[in-house]
Amino acid sequence: MTKTDSTKTEYALLALEDGRVFRGRSWGALGEVCGEMVFNTSMSGYQEVLTDPSYAGQIVCMTYPLIGNYGVNAADAESARPWVEGFVVREASRTASSWRAEETLDAYLKRWSIPAVDHIDTRALVRHIRDRGAMRACLSSVDGDEKSLVEKARASLSMENRELASVVTTKAPYEVAAEGVERFHVVCYDFGVKTNSLREFARRGCRLTVVPSSTPAADVLAMKPDGVFLSNGPGDPASMSAVVEEIRRLAESGTPTFGICFGHQLLGRAFGGTTYKLRFGHRGGNQPVREQSSGSIEITSHNHGFAVSAESLPAEVEVTHVNLNDNCVEGMRHKRLPVFSVQYHPEAAPGPHDAEHHFRRFVELMESERA
């Protein structure tokens, strides 16, 4: 970057594929990225959002306007690195105030080369996406030409049919030890797993073997696990037909299986159901989900752009949870097989802990299957 460039790059542009352009100030790294433009409504937890692999391929806008206030720390990372393509906020805090802070968010984004923009009307952006649906966007602090950026957005990959699990998954299997006495062995399919899911299992006496997304069912069954966990992750579940087939085998083997988010969508497809793209998705920590049999409500953490179609599910699969805002499927279980899943994030991080009990539920399932 030359010196003259750096004076130009005080500003950054965010161009949407439908031609709308927002002009703001550049922060984080200088650069240019394209991705699906989505928004998250959590008021805290930006670091967890940035490091959630499910955001791969996306430019994320936080609806809460002040981001970065408490900086960044190593403990709150949900994976080894940030995965968002770009980051959009109303006002980035250049300083960090927290006893836990290790660096400022700005420095962190620079370190990981994530371009970001602030000082734009994020509410207008969110309303635009809400009304017109999630769309592709290009965020740039190097190209000042609006038309060119809109073109770049249009030329970028669409999230539909996009496969991203292979990008974010672990390259090789690894183990996570149980905390305390080891009671179970769980194989975790890593489609973009968050650290807190692993922590929730470990806390409950599970040893984990985290395997790449392409691992064949036979290899997993050969490990004789007590259970299989299908993680969250980015991309369109429809792009995963090979993996879906492996999952169907695993489920039908009678191995207790638990899926969350992307894993839930893959299970839905494995049982013969279909998935569809939501208009702008659910991303935030305040979504009300009702458990159908008891009527009890949990406030849950969401991050999904696709959902399982309720009508497409076979009779053997029961919808156990629905979203009260839009009635979309939030959880299901197989009536015959020891398999259940939720569309949302019981591991939270960020978000409320109301749904944590699903991990306990899975441990209990493994217990009863063992007996």
Binding site: M43, S44, N286, L324
Partner: protein, 1085 residues
């Protein structure tokens, strides 16, 4: 779960008069609860002694009792109404305490009334700190170290565990009354003893200090199916040690990582379940150590609170309304979110803006009180502001405060600056910005103030934006810099000050550059769903969501933050204007910045702009909405002060013209009018210097009443008896200028005073009420009790007042409301003051007469109807005695003399209704929290001119069975007429003296009129002692007579059964004229 059908009738208890720590937020919550339950088909019975509330409007509940909030009075209402259930959680601490007391007295079980919302056990656990602490221990939650002491001896032991500084909080008091922080044994003893005395259960909590920790609050809701949601998190700008009511607070929390926030959320849910609050909202306070994140649970309120009103306004989630529905059995998912319409209430609001609440103090009214903030709340009101950044919200909030003259600091010595930063005070904010400007580092300011560096950084950002424009020519400022100044919340007025130009010029330049605000919606969901409710705030961004309609619309300017002299009464008027105009088919637009009020409820008006009440902010809305009329006459002085400026800018102010408003305020113009109309005024003049003042005073003769121009609530008003005091007043008490001269009036000693409210337009004048003050002239009208109808005035004087009212209303071309203050001295009627606007007494008069004056006035102002078309009589009548009595905050300000004078000190009011004057006054006194003494010793000490009256009074007291106690002079006079009197020393005459007697609870009643400067100290000690020991203390003879009337009405045994009467009964079946109280009144004097 569907709503319960086994209950039909529900009793709601309100919070009584406005006091520090319990303000109109409970009118808001109570009104919401009444409306919600009525809408569900329940019959709602309401009791609240405060007539200035919307909730006590006859339409809000089915049966409305403006009666004292005492066990006896509410028990009588329960017996009469037989409600199935009692909802105690929407009337603040008052309602909660009263509900418990009713239960203790067996009333609830006797009449089979079920407590809904919160059960007795849950209230006890949450409210009794000892039980609460035990409950927290049981679920592994940590509270600050320490414990409860019930005596000084126990406290001494306890402090060894906590060390110094130690926090002392008395149990069961409002706003932390009697609490404080002790830094040494001497302070400790003082605070503990005061705290034990203030606590109704003689208990204080003594705790380790967590001063300087960060303070957070969570608003939690739970339903009967055990679903729990958090509505809002709040972070205090001021650290622990400052009462949250006195802190600047911010929503949502700004400096917590998600891990820390979710931990607080988990704890909050654990607490509400453990305490067992079944349904509704609770507020939980936390302290967090900034060094390591350690958390302490501070307290829980198992009810709707000031913070939940704030949270409701901050998020758009109506906590009280939802709480009421949950109390009758609904679950959260069965209740729709009004704003999005499509989503249920079982969610957690997420906001995409920042909310700042800033307290408003009235320290200037309590000169002896030290301006130091601590664990006892001292603010009298608050503002809320919404912005897209903290900076914007904070600075919008600061200008919403209407600081009379912003503190401009210069040359503050370093040690004083350090002290001001380290010791929280109401001006601390000014000192912080000053320190930043002086280059004091953020680390240093943080070290002294313990305010989180993040907040300080935000302030520094604003300072640097200011620096970029300061001293520049307006036209030279880069458009981006000017835009940024607006984005961070700087007002046009501030920019004008920095560039040495006028506000109008800044506004013009700004508009020329296209720098105008847009309006965003408060929608509970961060724009995830469409909002159907126009609840708006301004910001400087791209997209505007105001979407104004083409309807016929009227804009109503609210009254801003509560303060002494301008409170809930004006919010009442604004709401009524909105209700009436909505019904008449207008679209109504409310502008206000007070989060406690009903007017800032998003469904009171068609559109709500939560904005500062300044010329700039109001005109910006006018530009967008283009209303056909603006009402400035209902919100008190705040909007009235904008009238001329708005009108000159072309805004359509309706009702009485700004010119008439100015005419009434401008001493010279008004004097000329009065001479022209031949209406007598006390002799008067104006002065800008001490010399000039002396000339005026000598011309008209002492004593004189002096006051600054354009003030509220008699601010800095005084009665001056000689040249020396006048000099002192002119030099120290006021800043006079040619634009704002000091007003000097002949003081009419011992005159009787009257407040008249009337309605007028070109077609008619209706005298709504002639209210007689109980206290004589010289006591601020807001601090004097008043009675309707008048009881001791000749008919000819009433006629004169009616006549002058009509003459003045016509001369001022009044269209709407007018309030006139009269005095009668030596059989002559004088006009003291004319206010062509809604007055403080409008709600009281409306409730007494059954005619909603503000509604009629609003329709007349908007031209919907002429006054003649209402077919009202020339003068409204009442069929009972109605008394309005003030309540005072003296107990919160140690060292302040609780004496009445021309400067207003009361924060709120109650109403008493009775068949006789005595009954009504007794109810008013009980409503104001006084226990009427029925026997015991009455202490009498009066000045020479009152001695004649004192004889009459003493005789009546003796006849009622009181023992008499008097100082030597008074005693001698009473003995002359054969009364049996004991004498007692004055304070400076020796021991034991009268103060000792009061402190030993030997005195049941104090009657003490001021003797003058010499005995000032003595009298102050008596009054303070009486205040502390809850002994009624009267400082005027007329007040004393009224009190004796009420004691007589209570019966000698004090056991006369209360006779509650609902407003609906009063106004639906008017008594015949023959039974009019005027003829049947047994009133002396």
């Amino acid at each position: 779960m569907p709503k319960r059908t086994d209950i039909r009738k529900i009793l709601i208890i309100g919070s009584g008069p406005i006091v520090i720590g319990q303000a109109c937020e409970f009118d808001y919550s109570g009104t919401q609860a009444c409306k919600a339950l009525k809408a569900e088909g329940y019959e709602v019975v309401l009791v609240n002694s405060n007539p200035a509330t919307i909730m006590t409007d006859p339409e809000i509940a089915d049966r409305t009792y403006v009666e004292p909030l005492t066990v006896a009075s509410v028990a009588a209402i329960i017996e009469r109404e037989r409600p199935d259930a009692l909802l105690p959680t929407v009337g603040g601490q008052t309602a909660l305490n009263l509900a418990l007391a009713l239960d203790d007295a067996g009333v609830l079980s006797e009449f089979r009334v079920e407590m809904i919302g919160a059960k007795r056990e849950a209230i006890r656990v949450a409210e009794d700190r000892e039980l609460f602490k035990r409950a927290m221990d049981e679920v592994g939650l940590v509270m600050p170290r320490g414990g409860f002491a019930h005596s000084w001896a126990e406290a001494e032991v306890m402090v060894e565990e906590t060390g110094y500084p130690a926090i002392v909080r008395p149990s069961f008091t409002l706003g932390g009354t009697g609490g404080g922080t002790a830094f040494n044994p001497e302070e400790f003893e003082e605070i503990v003893r005061a705290g034990l005395a203030a606590s109704p259960i003689l208990q204080v909590l003594i705790e380790e200090s967590i001063l300087g920790w960060k303070e957070f609050e969570l608003e939690v809701m739970r339903d009967l199916a055990d679903n729990v949601v958090i509505i809002c998190s709040i972070e205090n700008f001021d650290p622990m040690g400052v009462h949250t009511g006195d802190s600047i607070t911010v929503a949502p929390a700004q400096t917590l990582t998600d891990v820390e926030y979710q931990n607080l959320r988990d704890i909050a849910i654990k607490i509400i379940r453990k305490v067992g609050v079944e349904t509704g909202g609770s507020n939980i306070q936390f302290a967090v150590n900034p060094a390591d994140g350690a958390v302490r649970v501070i307290e829980m309120n198992p009810r709707v609170s000031r913070s939940s009103a704030l949270a409701s306004k901050a998020t758009g989630f109506p906590i009280a309304k939802i709480a009421a529905k949950l109390a009758v059995g609904y679950t959260l998912d069965e209740i729709p979110n009004d704003i999005t319409k499509k989503t249920p209430a079982s969610f957690e609001p997420t906001i995409d803006y920042v909310v700042a609440k800033i307290p408003k103090w009235n320290f200037e009214k309590f000169r002896e009180a030290e301006d130091v903030l601590g664990t006892q709340m001292k603010s009298v009101g608050e503002v809320m502001a919404i912005g897209r950044t903290f900076k914007e919200a904070l600075f919008k909030g600061l200008r919403s405060l209407e600081a009379v003259s912003p503190l401009r600091l210069a040359d503050v010595p370093a040690d004083e600056l350090q002290r001001k930063l380290a010791r929280p005070n109401s001006q601390r904010f000014s000192y912080i910005t000053y320190a930043l400007q002086q280059g004091v580092s953020i680390e240093e300011i943080h070290r002294l103030s313990k305010i989180d560096p993040w907040f300080l950084e935000q302030l520094r950002d604003v300072m640097s934006v200011q620096e970029r424009i300061e001293g520049k020519r307006l036209e030279e400022i880069a458009p981006d810099d000017l835009r940024e100044a607006k984005e961070v919340g700087l007002s046009d007025r501030r920019v004008a000050y920095l560039t040495d130009r006028s506000e109008g010029e800044v506004r013009a330049r700004r508009k020329e550059l296209g720098i105008v605000p847009v309006y965003k919606r408060v929608d509970t969901c961060g724009a995830e769903f469409e909002s159907f409710t126009p609840y708006l705030y301004s910001t400087y961004e791209e997209e505007d969501e105001a979407a104004p309609t083409n309807a016929r619309k009227i804009m109503i300017l609210g009254s801003g933050p509560n303060r002494i002299g301008q409170g809930i009464e004006f919010d009442y008027c604004c709401c009524h204007a909105s209700f009436a105009l909505r019904e008449a088919g207008f679209e109504t637009i409310m502008v206000n910045c007070n989060p406690e009020t009903v007017s800032t409820d998003y469904d009171t008006s068609d559109r709500l702009y939560f904005e500062p009440l300044t010329f700039e902010d109001v005109m910006n809305i006018v530009d967008v909405e283009r209303p056909e009329g603006i009402i400035v006459q209902f919100g008190g002085q705040t909007p009235l002060n904008l009238a001329t400026q708005l009108s000159e800018a072309g805004a359509p102010v309706i009702g009485t013209s700004p010119d008439s408003i100015d005419l009434a305020e401008d001493r010279k113009r008004f004097g000329a009018l009065m001479r022209e109309l031949s209406v007598p005024q006390p002799e008067n003049g104006t002065a800008v210097s001490p010399e000039e003042a002396r000339v005026v005073a000598e011309r008209i003769g002492y004593p004189v009443m002096v006051r600054p121009s354009f003030v509220l609530g008699g601010r800095a008003m005084a009665i001056v008896y000689d040249a020396k005091s006048l000099d002192e007043y002119m030099r120290t008490a006021v800043e006079a200028s040619p634009a704002k001269p000091v007003l000097i009036d002949k003081f009419l000693e011992r005159a009787a005073e009257f407040d008249v409210d009337a309605l007028a337009d070109e077609t008619a004048v209706v005298v709504a009420a002639i209210q007689e003050h109980i206290e004589e002239a010289g006591i601020h009208s807001g601090d004097s009790s008043c009675v309707l109808p008048p009881v001791r005035v000749a008919e000819e004087h009433l006629e004169t007042m009616r006549h002058y009212t009509r003459v003045l209303a016509r001369a001022l071309k009044v269209r709407g409301l007018i309030n006139i203050q009269f005095a009668i001295k030596d059989d002559r009627v004088y006009v003291l003051e004319v206010n062509p606007r809604a007055s403080r007494t409008v709600p009281f008069v409306s409730k007494a007469t059954g005619v909603a004056l503000a509604r009629v006035a609003a329709l007349v102002m908007a031209g919907a109807k002429t006054l003649a078309e209402f077919n009202l009589p020339a003068e409204l009548t009442v069929n009972r005695f109605f008394i309005k009595s003030p309540v005072f905050p003296f107990a919160k300000f140690p060292g302040v003399d609780p004496i009445l004078g021309p400067e207003m000190h009361s924060t709120g009011e109650v109403m008493g209704v009775g068949e006789t004057f005595g009954e009504a006054y007794a109810k008013a006194m009980m409503g104001a929290g006084l226990t009427l003494p029925c026997r015991g010793t009455a202490f009498v000490s009066v000045n020479d001119s009152d001695k004649g009256q004192a004889v009459l009074l003493a005789r009546r007291l003796a006849r009622l069975g009181f023992r008499l106690l008097a100082t030597y002079g008074t005693a001698a006079r009473l003995r002359e007429v054969g009364l049996e009197v004991e004498s007692v020393f004055k304070v400076n005459e020796g021991r034991p003296n009268i103060v000792d007697a009061i402190k030993q609870d030997e005195v049941a009643l104090v009657i003490n009129t001021p003797l003058g400067r010499a005995s000032h100290f003595d009298e102050q000690a008596i009054r303070r002692a009486a205040l502390q020991h809850g002994v009624p203390c009267v400082t005027t003879m007329t007040g004393a007579h009224a009190l004796v009337d009420s004691i007589a009405a209570c019966g000698v045994d004090g056991n006369t059964r209360p006779k509650p009467v609902s407003l609906q009964e009063l106004h639906e079946s008017p008594k015949s004229a023959a039974q009019s109280p005027r003829s049947g009144a047994g009133v002396r004097l």
